[in-house]
Symmetry: C2
């Protein structure tokens, strides 16, 4: 299960994103400058596109850089299954192939989510005991950060999947946020027992049962997420998580544009904005999605990160940094132990529920 | 179905909110001052609490004000069924009772959502053809507003319910936003067909089939909601809608507090903030939830608005204003016609799908 390659070798799918290979090459420059604990960076994509960019960036003599050729590119709107069946030499398939074959320790792609989940699930296979992968995204609050899991890999989830998300999210919060005992909350529409839908009610029972393996604090509401210091891991299915993530992105953009626009409306306001520039800068830094530019696709045999389709070089650099973190902490071997324990507890909970719902025999015989 | 009371008589449950009866009485003062088209305002609650407040507000001689006594109050955390069974003389039950008996034309309550939905569904009954109620909330974008429906009444919805939400939301957008042909979008995690979950896929088919009755523009993502000028009615189930609403509230609060805090960090920034005060004021106005402080519980025989549990007097005043709008436009009689037509189209779609999924007989006989 552990990659056979020694050291820290990271592969980057250099073709899938909206900003193309140049953003990836610029991220490579940043990664070498920052002296990340990186033995090698492998850029995967069309050789004739990548070589000139690498040369222009002054990386032609860089011994830690390697290019692996892949002739095809998967577009942002291609269907997962079709892209998998028809484009065997895509940069995405080649990148995940390197991870599968143990030639790299982690991989980053900003290709389309559906195709990435499809390729990864079929090529890398899921970790023992896990039945669906999940994407974990780090989101800023007023004073800290929380991990949203699943933010879009598995839109049709069962309670068992949410239990696994809780474990995966906990371990990821330990690695990426440096927390000892991350507080796990289940996203719902009220904090009282019985609120929510069938999925949250069932998941709540499972999460209570595995408390100890994780630090479960109960159901949380949307209002609590951004207060900071309340919850570190927010568990939900990939449909709700993706909607939450994108709605928040949309709202944050709206607020930013509205304020920029209104601050430019009069000369006096412009002066005021210039004087208070520092506050806006701090706001921008806190809300900066590039800081954790890669969201891992967890639950798989291999460290795979998904970067945003429109990831900048700074965001791709962060993704490479988080990839090295995942390799250092060997997340998956710890996840597998917790999942095995939780699955056994989960089966007991399910059995008990079946027994409780079975009617008592009225006449049990003589 | 239409209320028998003539004119515009609005009842307000004066006890259920966090801010208590004083916020309701203050809202009454605002309503009379603003000269809303209002024949009478009925405050429902404990006489010994309300009378002193009404006197102190200088409303004791107001001929358009009436107090109806109700001895009990339903708390914010009480369970819907228990509160309904045990507190027959609650201000909520009495308020809805007035609406049911045709003694008022519309009613407003800031009591707890679950109890309100339970009371209203049992006491008022649903409109012909509708099987679940839905809450519609108006949300600001950069340049306009959209209606989110359902924002929390029905967390476990079927495709049929979402079809009804689309119709209810359309009519509400016509009344409250003054739009001629509101663009209806289905909230999902991608705009391509096939994306989402079973509920969105089924609902998408139904909404396409009733295009014409509504102006359906297809699936929309969270990122699009706040762009403005894209979608006017956003359809989803009450679980997703409530999470979206509360998460957005949480994020907006976080941004506000963070900026306020950072603008106070240095004297120079404080001066800057004072100079650009106008921009923040405009932002605050746009994001002000009080502007549409009442969210109607649609799909019922009667105009019932839910105000936020922590509604201010300004928000309660808006709710009373929106209540008069609903009475003026007689929303429900138009909804019933569209729902009947949509249900018949919906049945055809469902039949066709069953036929398509039935295998052709191999041997159809001699």
């Amino acid at each position: 299960m552990a990659p056979v390659a020694s050291g820290r070798i990271i592969a980057v799918d250099a073709m899938g994103g909206d900003n193309g290979a140049s953003a990836v090459v610029a991220a490579a420059v940043l990664a070498f400058k920052a002296e990340l604990p990186l033995d090698k960076l492998v850029l995967v994509g069309q050789q004739d596109v990548l070589t000139p960019l690498v040369n222009a960036a002054g990386l032609s003599g860089e011994p830690r850089l390697e290019i692996v050729h892949a002739s095809e590119v998967i577009g942002m709107d291609e269907k997962p299954k079709t892209s998998y069946m028809k484009k065997k030499d895509s940069s995405m398939a080649r990148t995940i192939g390197l991870l599968k074959d143990g030639r790299v320790n982690a991989a980053v792609s900003c290709g389309n989510t559906g195709s990435l989940v499809f390729h990864a699930t079929l090529m890398l296979r899921l970790l023992d005991g896990i039945t669906k992968p999940a994407i974990a995204t780090v989101i800023p609050t007023k004073t800290s950060y929380f991990v949203l899991i699943d933010s879009g890999a598995n839109p049709v989830a069962k309670a068992e999947n949410l239990m696994h998300n809780a474990i995966l999210g906990s371990w990821y919060a330990k690695v990426v946020l440096g927390l000892k005992s991350p507080r796990v909350g289940l996203l719902s529409i009220g904090t009282e027992e019985g609120k929510g839908n069938d999925l949250t009610r069932e998941s709540h029972e499972l999460l209570k049962a595995i408390n100890g393996t994780i630090n479960y604090i109960g159901m949380v509401e949307g209002l609590q997420l951004f207060e900071g210091n309340g919850v570190d891991v927010v568990v939900c299915d990939g449909f709700v998580g993706n909607i939450v993530l994108k709605t928040c992105e949309g709202l944050a953009k709206m607020v930013k544009h509205f304020l920029e626009d209104r601050l430019r409306a009069t000369p006096v306001r412009l002066v005021g904005a210039a004087l208070s520039r520092g506050a806006f800068k701090e706001m921008k830094q806190r809300m900066n999605p590039d800081q954790y530019g890669g969201a891992p696709l967890l639950g798989l045999n291999g460290n795979l990160l998904k970067a945003h389709g429109s990831a900048s070089s700074a965001a791709l650099f962060s993704a490479i940094r988080v990839a090295t973190d995942l390799v250092t902490h060997d997340l998956n071997s710890q996840v597998v132990i917790d999942v095995a324990r939780a699955n056994s507890t989960g089966r007991e909970v399910a059995l008990k529920q079946v027994e409780q719902s079975r009617p008592e025999p009225v006449n049990s015989g003589a």
